[in-house]
């Protein structure tokens, strides 16, 4: 989804985008060293802001919420409230660290979609996921009749996190490219195309 948004944004100004996939740290390092023109998706940090220009607006804002079946009357306020539920988590995710730090038992899986299968099979009660990612998995994995049995909490497990495109300050045209992106992104949002991309991703 993020790639689509960035590609469509640059398309508005007649620029093509090619993506190169690396382990996360290397992806950032290559951008920092200007081996590539830029990188996605990165949240702001004082360290990174020293070496990168950030897009003015985040490309997306991720919200991590709990997913569960509608048949479960689930509401939570404190971590103590979660203790009576079977929680499915994902290996290496920040949400898992937060749950574990709060003394919660988490059943771990390697792939996020496994937790949604486990929810449906009633092997876990709740699982944290990004709102967009969660509904993408549900709508791609299950027929509509099953997909409609899922719901999510509005309360977030993690704070909202905006992610940006970054261009290295070493890039001779870095500032210019970022300005081009910012202006085109504004056009993408105003045209309604941005919402369309997100809607398509969620309801695919």
């Amino acid at each position: 989804m993020i790639q689509t948004i960035v590609t469509e944004t640059f398309k508005l100004v007649n620029i093509d985008v090619l993506y190169k996939y690396y382990p996360w740290k290397r992806s950032l390092r290559y951008a920092e060293e200007f081996e590539v023109d830029g990188s996605i998706p990165w949240s702001k940090s004082s360290e990174r802001e020293k070496v990168f220009y950030y897009s003015k607006e985040p490309i997306i804002i991720t919200r991590t919420v709990f997913f569960h079946l509608k048949s479960l009357d689930f509401k939570w306020d404190t971590f103590e409230d979660l203790k009576r539920y079977r929680i499915g988590g994902n290996i290496g995710y920040r949400s898992t660290d937060v749950l574990k730090k709060n003394d919660l038992k988490v059943e771990l899986v390697a792939k996020e979609e496994q937790n949604f299968r486990k929810l449906l099979a009633n092997r876990i009660d709740i699982t944290p996921s990004s709102f967009f990612v969660g509904y993408y998995i549900i709508n791609n994995l299950f027929p509509k009749s099953k997909a409609l049995t899922f719901t999510n909490t509005t309360k977030q497990l993690l704070p909202e996190n905006g992610v940006h495109i970054v261009i290295p300050k070493k890039h001779p045209r870095g500032k210019e490219i970022m300005k081009i992106f910012d202006e085109a992104f504004e056009k993408l949002v105003k045209s309604g195309m941005y919402d369309k991309i997100i809607d398509e991703f969620v309801s695919k």
Partner: protein
């Protein structure tokens, strides 16, 4: 002759700014939807 003409056309397009610019962006290795992976490694 045809090759020479194509080359000349490409050079002219490039000079006149009609050639499309391509940016290369790096990103993390992920499945299409697993953007839940922490996008901010330490």
């Amino acid at each position: 002759m045809r090759k020479l003409f194509t080359l000349l056309l490409l050079v002219l397009l490039s000079i006149s700014g009609y050639a499309k610019e391509t940016l290369i962006l790096s990103t993390g290795e992920w499945a299409p939807y697993t953007s839940q992976k922490d996008p901010s490694p330490e």
